[in-house]
Protein backbone atom coordinates (compact mmCIF):
# COMPACT_ATOMS: atom_id res chain seq x y z
CA UNK A 1 0.00 0.00 0.00
CA UNK A 2 2.94 2.28 0.74
CA UNK A 3 4.04 1.98 -2.89
CA UNK A 4 0.58 3.06 -4.04
CA UNK A 5 0.70 6.00 -1.66
CA UNK A 6 4.00 7.29 -3.02
CA UNK A 7 2.90 6.70 -6.60
CA UNK A 8 -0.03 9.03 -5.96
CA UNK A 9 2.21 11.53 -4.16
CA UNK A 10 4.52 11.59 -7.20
CA UNK A 11 1.51 12.10 -9.50
CA UNK A 12 0.15 14.99 -7.43
CA UNK A 13 3.57 16.66 -7.23
CA UNK A 14 4.08 16.28 -10.98
CA UNK A 15 0.71 17.89 -11.75
CA UNK A 16 1.22 20.74 -9.30
CA UNK A 17 4.65 21.41 -10.80
CA UNK A 18 3.15 21.66 -14.28
CA UNK A 19 0.27 23.81 -13.03
CA UNK A 20 2.67 26.11 -11.21
CA UNK A 21 4.02 27.28 -14.56
CA UNK A 22 0.52 28.47 -15.53
CA UNK A 23 -0.18 30.22 -12.25
CA UNK A 24 2.94 32.01 -11.02
CA UNK A 25 3.97 35.43 -12.28
CA UNK A 26 6.04 35.13 -15.38
CA UNK A 27 9.12 36.80 -13.96
CA UNK A 28 9.66 34.08 -11.35
CA UNK A 29 10.47 31.42 -13.88
CA UNK A 30 12.16 33.63 -16.41
CA UNK A 31 14.84 34.14 -13.79
CA UNK A 32 17.90 32.69 -15.60
CA UNK A 33 19.10 31.05 -12.42
CA UNK A 34 15.86 29.06 -12.01
CA UNK A 35 15.96 28.05 -15.66
CA UNK A 36 19.56 26.91 -15.24
CA UNK A 37 18.77 24.84 -12.15
CA UNK A 38 15.84 23.18 -13.95
CA UNK A 39 18.23 22.34 -16.78
CA UNK A 40 21.12 21.02 -14.69
CA UNK A 41 18.70 19.00 -12.52
CA UNK A 42 17.27 17.25 -15.57
CA UNK A 43 20.70 16.38 -16.95
CA UNK A 44 22.16 15.42 -13.56
CA UNK A 45 19.25 13.16 -12.62
CA UNK A 46 19.25 11.34 -15.94
CA UNK A 47 23.04 10.84 -15.75
CA UNK A 48 22.69 9.56 -12.20
CA UNK A 49 19.85 7.19 -13.09
CA UNK A 50 21.88 5.84 -16.00
CA UNK A 51 24.90 5.12 -13.83
CA UNK A 52 22.95 3.81 -10.82
CA UNK A 53 21.08 1.36 -13.02
CA UNK A 54 24.38 0.25 -14.58
CA UNK A 55 26.66 -0.35 -11.58
CA UNK A 56 24.60 -0.36 -8.39
CA UNK A 57 23.59 -3.70 -6.87
CA UNK A 58 21.93 -2.65 -3.66
CA UNK A 59 24.66 -0.77 -1.81
CA UNK A 60 27.49 -2.52 -3.66
CA UNK A 61 29.12 -1.56 -6.94
CA UNK A 62 29.10 -4.32 -9.52
CA UNK A 63 30.47 -4.53 -13.05
CA UNK A 64 28.29 -7.04 -14.86
CA UNK A 65 26.33 -7.53 -18.09
CA UNK A 66 24.65 -4.15 -17.62
CA UNK A 67 27.92 -2.42 -18.61
CA UNK A 68 27.62 -4.19 -21.95
CA UNK A 69 24.09 -2.81 -22.23
CA UNK A 70 25.39 0.72 -21.63
CA UNK A 71 28.03 0.35 -24.35
CA UNK A 72 25.52 -1.14 -26.81
CA UNK A 73 23.05 1.69 -26.13
CA UNK A 74 25.75 4.33 -26.62
CA UNK A 75 26.71 2.81 -29.97
CA UNK A 76 23.05 2.72 -31.05
CA UNK A 77 22.58 6.37 -30.03
CA UNK A 78 25.77 7.32 -31.84
CA UNK A 79 24.28 5.75 -34.96
CA UNK A 80 21.10 7.82 -34.40
CA UNK A 81 18.92 4.79 -33.83
CA UNK A 82 15.35 5.42 -32.61
CA UNK A 83 14.53 5.01 -28.94
CA UNK A 84 13.12 1.48 -29.10
CA UNK A 85 16.14 0.22 -31.06
CA UNK A 86 18.39 1.70 -28.36
CA UNK A 87 16.39 -0.06 -25.63
CA UNK A 88 16.39 -3.37 -27.50
CA UNK A 89 20.15 -3.08 -28.10
CA UNK A 90 20.63 -2.66 -24.34
CA UNK A 91 18.41 -5.62 -23.53
CA UNK A 92 20.02 -7.84 -26.17
CA UNK A 93 23.54 -7.00 -24.96
CA UNK A 94 22.67 -7.77 -21.32
CA UNK A 95 20.79 -10.97 -22.19
CA UNK A 96 23.54 -12.09 -24.58
CA UNK A 97 26.40 -11.50 -22.14
CA UNK A 98 24.44 -13.32 -19.44
CA UNK A 99 23.97 -16.26 -21.77
CA UNK A 100 27.76 -16.32 -22.21
CA UNK A 101 28.10 -16.72 -18.45
CA UNK A 102 28.66 -13.18 -17.19
CA UNK A 103 26.77 -12.21 -14.03
Amino acid sequence: MSLWFWILVACVLAFLTKLLGYLVPRKWLTNPRIARVAGTLTIGLLASLTVANTVAAGQALSLDSRVGALVAAAIALWLRAPFLVVVIAGAAAAAGLRMLGLP
Binding site: L3, W6, I7, L8, V9, A10, C11, L13, A14, F15, T17, K18, L19, L20, G21, R26, L29, A35, R36, V37, A38, G39, T40, L41, T42, I43, G44, L45, L46, A47, S48, L49, T50, V51, A52, N53, T54, A56, G58, Q59, L61, S65, A69, L70, A72, A76, A81, P82, F83, L84, V85, V87, I88, G90, A91, A92, A93, A94, A95, R98
Partner: protein, 239 residues
Amino acid sequence: MSIAVATGLYGVSFGALSVASGLTVLQTSALSLLLFSGGSQFAFIGVIAGGGSPVAAAGAAALLGIRNAVYGMQLNALIHPRGWRRFAAAQVTIDESLATSTGQTEPIEQKRGFWVAGLGIFLLWNAFTLLGALAGDSIGDPKQWGLDGAAVAAFLGLLWPRLRSREAGAVAAVCALATVLAVPLVPPGLPILVAAIVAGAIGWFGSRNGPEGEGLEPDVDPYRDAPAAPGAAGMAGVS
Protein backbone atom coordinates in the same frame (compact mmCIF):
# COMPACT_ATOMS: atom_id res chain seq x y z
CA MET B 1 3.09 10.50 -37.59
CA SER B 2 6.67 9.67 -36.72
CA ILE B 3 6.08 11.14 -33.27
CA ALA B 4 3.07 8.85 -32.87
CA VAL B 5 5.08 5.75 -33.76
CA ALA B 6 7.96 6.83 -31.54
CA THR B 7 5.60 7.49 -28.62
CA GLY B 8 3.99 4.09 -29.05
CA LEU B 9 7.31 2.27 -29.00
CA TYR B 10 8.58 4.34 -26.10
CA GLY B 11 5.37 3.60 -24.17
CA VAL B 12 5.76 -0.13 -24.69
CA SER B 13 9.31 0.06 -23.25
CA PHE B 14 8.07 1.95 -20.22
CA GLY B 15 5.21 -0.46 -19.57
CA ALA B 16 7.41 -3.55 -19.78
CA LEU B 17 10.18 -2.06 -17.64
CA SER B 18 7.73 -0.79 -15.05
CA VAL B 19 6.27 -4.25 -14.50
CA ALA B 20 9.80 -5.72 -14.44
CA SER B 21 10.73 -3.25 -11.68
CA GLY B 22 7.96 -4.66 -9.51
CA LEU B 23 4.98 -2.39 -10.10
CA THR B 24 1.64 -3.94 -10.99
CA VAL B 25 -0.09 -3.30 -14.30
CA LEU B 26 -2.56 -1.02 -12.53
CA GLN B 27 0.21 0.99 -10.83
CA THR B 28 1.98 1.32 -14.18
CA SER B 29 -1.18 2.68 -15.81
CA ALA B 30 -1.76 5.04 -12.88
CA LEU B 31 1.67 6.60 -13.48
CA SER B 32 0.95 7.06 -17.19
CA LEU B 33 -2.52 8.50 -16.64
CA LEU B 34 -1.82 10.75 -13.67
CA LEU B 35 1.89 11.55 -13.71
CA PHE B 36 2.24 11.61 -17.53
CA SER B 37 5.84 12.69 -17.87
CA GLY B 38 8.03 9.97 -19.35
CA GLY B 39 11.31 11.01 -17.74
CA SER B 40 9.76 11.19 -14.27
CA GLN B 41 7.98 7.87 -14.77
CA PHE B 42 11.24 6.19 -15.78
CA ALA B 43 12.93 7.81 -12.77
CA PHE B 44 10.29 6.39 -10.42
CA ILE B 45 10.62 2.81 -11.67
CA GLY B 46 14.41 3.14 -11.98
CA VAL B 47 14.73 3.86 -8.26
CA ILE B 48 12.30 1.04 -7.37
CA ALA B 49 14.15 -1.41 -9.65
CA GLY B 50 17.41 -0.58 -7.86
CA GLY B 51 15.89 -1.48 -4.49
CA GLY B 52 15.23 2.13 -3.49
CA SER B 53 12.35 3.19 -1.27
CA PRO B 54 9.09 4.55 -2.75
CA VAL B 55 9.86 7.88 -1.03
CA ALA B 56 13.15 8.22 -2.92
CA ALA B 57 11.36 7.19 -6.13
CA ALA B 58 8.75 9.91 -5.67
CA GLY B 59 11.51 12.44 -4.88
CA ALA B 60 13.47 11.62 -8.02
CA ALA B 61 10.32 11.79 -10.15
CA ALA B 62 9.31 15.15 -8.66
CA LEU B 63 12.76 16.69 -9.18
CA LEU B 64 12.93 15.50 -12.77
CA GLY B 65 9.55 17.13 -13.38
CA ILE B 66 10.68 20.61 -12.32
CA ARG B 67 11.46 21.59 -15.89
CA ASN B 68 7.75 21.14 -16.69
CA ALA B 69 7.05 24.26 -14.60
CA VAL B 70 9.29 26.24 -16.93
CA TYR B 71 7.49 24.72 -19.94
CA GLY B 72 4.14 25.62 -18.38
CA MET B 73 5.17 29.24 -18.03
CA GLN B 74 6.22 29.40 -21.69
CA LEU B 75 3.06 27.69 -22.89
CA ASN B 76 0.88 29.94 -20.76
CA ALA B 77 2.36 32.91 -22.61
CA LEU B 78 1.77 31.21 -25.99
CA ILE B 79 -1.69 29.72 -25.71
CA HIS B 80 -3.39 31.53 -22.78
CA PRO B 81 -5.66 28.69 -21.60
CA ARG B 82 -8.64 29.85 -19.52
CA GLY B 83 -10.81 28.18 -16.88
CA TRP B 84 -10.75 24.37 -16.82
CA ARG B 85 -8.60 24.32 -19.95
CA ARG B 86 -5.76 25.56 -17.82
CA PHE B 87 -5.81 22.33 -15.81
CA ALA B 88 -6.04 20.21 -18.94
CA ALA B 89 -3.17 22.16 -20.48
CA ALA B 90 -1.05 21.61 -17.37
CA GLN B 91 -1.54 17.85 -17.50
CA VAL B 92 -0.39 17.59 -21.13
CA THR B 93 2.57 19.95 -20.64
CA ILE B 94 5.53 17.78 -21.68
CA ASP B 95 8.60 18.01 -23.90
CA GLU B 96 6.74 17.11 -27.10
CA SER B 97 3.75 19.44 -26.73
CA LEU B 98 6.12 22.32 -25.96
CA ALA B 99 8.29 21.47 -28.94
CA THR B 100 5.33 21.14 -31.31
CA SER B 101 3.83 24.41 -30.14
CA THR B 102 7.01 26.48 -30.19
CA GLY B 103 7.85 25.01 -33.59
CA GLN B 104 4.93 26.94 -35.14
CA THR B 105 4.95 30.63 -36.03
CA GLU B 106 1.23 31.53 -36.19
CA PRO B 107 -0.53 31.84 -32.80
CA ILE B 108 -3.49 29.73 -33.99
CA GLU B 109 -1.10 27.02 -35.16
CA GLN B 110 0.81 27.18 -31.87
CA LYS B 111 -2.42 26.51 -30.01
CA ARG B 112 -3.47 23.73 -32.35
CA GLY B 113 0.00 22.15 -32.25
CA PHE B 114 0.02 22.12 -28.47
CA TRP B 115 -3.41 20.51 -28.07
CA VAL B 116 -3.03 17.99 -30.89
CA ALA B 117 0.41 16.87 -29.69
CA GLY B 118 -0.49 16.94 -26.00
CA LEU B 119 -3.81 15.08 -26.22
CA GLY B 120 -2.69 12.74 -29.01
CA ILE B 121 0.41 11.67 -27.11
CA PHE B 122 -1.62 11.31 -23.92
CA LEU B 123 -3.91 8.76 -25.60
CA LEU B 124 -1.11 6.86 -27.35
CA TRP B 125 1.17 6.87 -24.33
CA ASN B 126 -1.51 5.37 -22.07
CA ALA B 127 -2.60 2.76 -24.62
CA PHE B 128 0.95 1.61 -25.25
CA THR B 129 2.18 1.59 -21.66
CA LEU B 130 -0.78 -0.70 -20.86
CA LEU B 131 0.20 -2.92 -23.78
CA GLY B 132 3.83 -3.00 -22.61
CA ALA B 133 2.81 -3.69 -19.03
CA LEU B 134 0.60 -6.62 -20.05
CA ALA B 135 3.38 -8.01 -22.26
CA GLY B 136 5.97 -7.51 -19.51
CA ASP B 137 3.70 -9.27 -17.06
CA SER B 138 3.69 -12.45 -19.11
CA ILE B 139 7.35 -12.97 -20.01
CA GLY B 140 8.74 -14.29 -16.75
CA ASP B 141 12.24 -13.55 -15.39
CA PRO B 142 13.09 -9.99 -16.48
CA LYS B 143 16.85 -10.52 -16.07
CA GLN B 144 16.90 -13.40 -18.51
CA TRP B 145 15.53 -11.04 -21.13
CA GLY B 146 18.07 -8.36 -20.25
CA LEU B 147 15.41 -5.93 -19.07
CA ASP B 148 17.80 -4.43 -16.52
CA GLY B 149 20.04 -3.66 -19.50
CA ALA B 150 17.04 -2.18 -21.29
CA ALA B 151 16.52 0.22 -18.37
CA VAL B 152 20.14 1.36 -18.60
CA ALA B 153 19.70 1.95 -22.33
CA ALA B 154 16.44 3.85 -21.78
CA PHE B 155 18.04 6.30 -19.34
CA LEU B 156 21.00 6.87 -21.64
CA GLY B 157 18.52 7.43 -24.46
CA LEU B 158 16.72 10.11 -22.43
CA LEU B 159 19.99 11.79 -21.46
CA TRP B 160 21.68 11.71 -24.87
CA PRO B 161 19.70 14.40 -26.75
CA ARG B 162 20.25 16.81 -23.83
CA LEU B 163 24.04 16.61 -24.04
CA ARG B 164 24.30 19.41 -26.56
CA SER B 165 27.07 21.42 -24.96
CA ARG B 166 30.34 20.86 -23.16
CA GLU B 167 28.83 22.19 -19.95
CA ALA B 168 25.91 19.77 -20.17
CA GLY B 169 28.43 16.95 -20.58
CA ALA B 170 30.38 18.19 -17.57
CA VAL B 171 27.24 18.28 -15.39
CA ALA B 172 26.40 14.73 -16.48
CA ALA B 173 29.94 13.51 -15.73
CA VAL B 174 30.09 15.12 -12.29
CA CYS B 175 26.67 13.73 -11.34
CA ALA B 176 27.60 10.27 -12.63
CA LEU B 177 30.73 10.34 -10.46
CA ALA B 178 28.78 11.57 -7.43
CA THR B 179 26.39 8.65 -7.90
CA VAL B 180 29.17 6.07 -8.00
CA LEU B 181 30.75 7.55 -4.87
CA ALA B 182 27.41 7.66 -3.04
CA VAL B 183 26.22 4.11 -3.82
CA PRO B 184 28.26 2.36 -1.09
CA LEU B 185 27.55 5.11 1.46
CA VAL B 186 23.79 5.63 1.43
CA PRO B 187 20.73 3.36 0.99
CA PRO B 188 19.58 2.49 -2.56
CA GLY B 189 17.71 5.29 -4.31
CA LEU B 190 19.40 8.07 -2.36
CA PRO B 191 22.50 8.31 -4.62
CA ILE B 192 20.16 9.74 -7.27
CA LEU B 193 19.01 12.44 -4.84
CA VAL B 194 22.64 13.16 -3.92
CA ALA B 195 23.33 13.71 -7.61
CA ALA B 196 20.28 15.98 -7.78
CA ILE B 197 21.72 18.16 -5.01
CA VAL B 198 25.04 18.34 -6.87
CA ALA B 199 23.26 19.22 -10.12
CA GLY B 200 21.14 21.85 -8.42
CA ALA B 201 24.22 23.40 -6.81
CA ILE B 202 26.03 23.56 -10.15
CA GLY B 203 23.02 25.27 -11.69
CA TRP B 204 22.56 27.69 -8.79
CA PHE B 205 26.17 28.68 -8.16
CA GLY B 206 27.66 27.93 -11.58
CA SER B 207 29.08 30.61 -13.80
CA ARG B 208 26.51 32.70 -15.59
CA ASN B 209 29.13 34.57 -17.57
CA GLY B 210 28.84 32.29 -20.57
CA PRO B 211 26.66 33.12 -23.55
CA GLU B 212 22.96 32.33 -23.54
CA GLY B 213 21.99 28.97 -24.91
CA GLU B 214 24.72 26.87 -23.42
CA GLY B 215 22.44 23.91 -23.86
CA LEU B 216 21.49 23.73 -20.19
CA GLU B 217 18.22 25.57 -20.24
CA PRO B 218 15.27 23.20 -20.42
CA ASP B 219 13.23 25.72 -22.35
CA VAL B 220 14.66 24.95 -25.75
CA ASP B 221 13.20 22.89 -28.52
CA PRO B 222 14.35 19.34 -27.72
CA TYR B 223 14.51 18.60 -31.43
CA ARG B 224 16.55 21.64 -32.35
CA ASP B 225 19.81 19.87 -33.04
CA ALA B 226 18.32 16.77 -34.52
CA PRO B 227 16.85 17.92 -37.82
CA ALA B 228 15.36 15.45 -40.25
CA ALA B 229 16.38 12.40 -38.24
CA PRO B 230 13.17 10.37 -38.17
CA GLY B 231 14.11 8.76 -34.88
CA ALA B 232 14.97 11.95 -33.08
CA ALA B 233 11.46 12.49 -31.80
CA GLY B 234 11.50 9.05 -30.24
CA MET B 235 14.75 9.72 -28.46
CA ALA B 236 13.39 12.81 -26.82
CA GLY B 237 10.37 10.79 -25.85
CA VAL B 238 7.61 11.74 -23.49
CA SER B 239 10.03 13.19 -21.05
